[in-house]
Symmetry: C2
Subunit: 378 residues, 2 copies
Amino acid sequence: AGKSQHNEDQACCEVVFVEQRSREGSGELDGGRKGFYFHYWALFDGHAGSGAAVMASERLHLHICEQTGSADPNQVSYAEDGGEVPNDAVPRFHLEKAVSHESLVIGAIENAFKHMDDQIEQERASQHLAGGCCALAAIYLMGKFYVANAGDSRAIIIRNGEIIPMSREFTPETERQRLQFLALLRPELLGKEFTHLEFPRRIQPKELGKKMLYRDQNMNGWAYKKIEEDDLKFPLIFGEGKKARMMATIGVTRGLGDHDLKVFSSNIHIKPFLSCFPEVRVYDLTQYEHCPDDVLVLGTDGLWDVTNDKEVAGVVMEVLTSYEPNDPCRYTMVAQELVVRSRGVLKERGWRLANDKLGSGDDISVFVIPLGGPGNYT
Amino acid sequence: AGKSQHNEDQACCEVVFVEQRSREGSGELDGGRKGFYFHYWALFDGHAGSGAAVMASERLHLHICEQTGSADPNQVSYAEDGGEVPNDAVPRFHLEKAVSHESLVIGAIENAFKHMDDQIEQERASQHLAGGCCALAAIYLMGKFYVANAGDSRAIIIRNGEIIPMSREFTPETERQRLQFLALLRPELLGKEFTHLEFPRRIQPKELGKKMLYRDQNMNGWAYKKIEEDDLKFPLIFGEGKKARMMATIGVTRGLGDHDLKVFSSNIHIKPFLSCFPEVRVYDLTQYEHCPDDVLVLGTDGLWDVTNDKEVAGVVMEVLTSYEPNDPCRYTMVAQELVVRSRGVLKERGWRLANDKLGSGDDISVFVIPLGGPGNYT
């Protein structure tokens, strides 16, 4: 769109083979290569440079491979020892909590994001990596889709016309309470510039002693307090919707990278408030019948800012019905159409959609992944 | 049931008049009494004594009255001054966030719970108040039900046979991440006895150096770690379902009171981990048509432990249809029937239900509140 010189969105899709390692102590692999495959699609929406997004797009699936390998999802075992290896999830100890295969995969994906973030931190100097990125990944493994999201990209499933959200966005507004709680417990992170309280607007010094609405970390509603000196500081969370910012700096609160990000012309670090951990949602493909028109759509915010879920579902239906059901390029055409429609056309007053509303001036990336139809689940 | 000498459940229902105060500076009231009414029902499930529950049942509605009065829900105004008084929610400042009437009421209820908890703290010595309590309150105000819950009591609406949850429970399991986050940031609260990590079972000293499943505050899944010295401490959260405990002491993580509660034979305080703030859910009665069989059911865990949502809905339907639609005692009969069926009959092997399953040995309290029918909404 011309917003930045390079596209800061990055994408990756792969089929990854996970070799299952032998256990500690046994020392040797079984005869051939033993393991399993997963299918992987991911979008990385970079900011303040494309470095973190590029690196994450090249490596995140390798970290997921590494972590799922050591999670050993074919057999759940607790404290490992050479001899006694259990081969199911039945607790062996009194009061032992059963841990499902699914929650091992979720834990593996969560830790893969953490390792990815650590790697960006370690290599950012030598690799000249700048910025950070949102990350949205869909992993298909043993009949289930695991959709992991850290940031403001979004995923939905469209099944028989019904829309099923597969992610939620992590922004200063949705994560307000986590951020305020951290700031309350670690006020030194605010560098005397910010207050952890939220106010509906900036307070003017002349209003000291008057009453003002506020929200604390343990509140969802608003109440009044008497304005004190400390309340004149800038609020940790400020602004609404797409304009909401944490520490007046960043509009997403989860993702990878951003290790050097500071509040403008200050020495206050942003990273302690950012989480690299995704929320992982699971969709069990075997629980439903799927037709060839059922899809999982992943998109960066460039898509969702101008095209809502219902409009996306409309485009999916419209484009898919215009192709033969077994034409494999029909899903690619949907993705292209979603990008083209969300971009619009460059006019004198910027990018415009067909209905003359404002098009997206942001980078736009979309995956459309079929859930059913011929050759399914293999 | 014989669990304790006195019933530790307490209840209250009231119609409360909220007098609207004049603003600071104006100094006088309008001619007559100006204000509004709210209807109020609340259940308090005490533990370790009935003192906190008794006091909360006598006072919480007064705190809600106080807070809603100063929230001034008839007109939203921000920084107050004598002269300029706005009479709607239209922002007067650049970038000012609009605050709805509903979120002022929510904030008032949240702060009322906080003031109630503070009062219990202040008066516990002079009033010889022991223990703590869960609190569940339903406030009907200007066409909306506000259901505020702190603890493991529950509220559901049954509308045309459909079940609508109006609360969620706050237990060591549902609040695991909040508790672990606090413990991670304030390790001194754990008194060297506990670890903030969760493990599926107690680890034995001989397992040092082996690998074990764990969950940290930012994870929903499970992953492996090498067992270190610190992991031999007792986990902050331990046990499953009704047996889940925080610091091996308490099974609810929100409520009022418990200011003196400590881990058994230690000097470790529990209260810093407990929240007195409720989650408030709103149900707009004017958005739906209600028939005389539509009800809001509030119950302490004594009800819900043995009777699930569907069974409760069944009893509601069964009892209501056996009375005339305009018989006002039909709702009381439902509440009585729910208590009687959940208690069961005392046999040799304890309380037994009609199906010979275990009945509730806990105190049981139920409100059944009609949402529709004759004389509605007045």
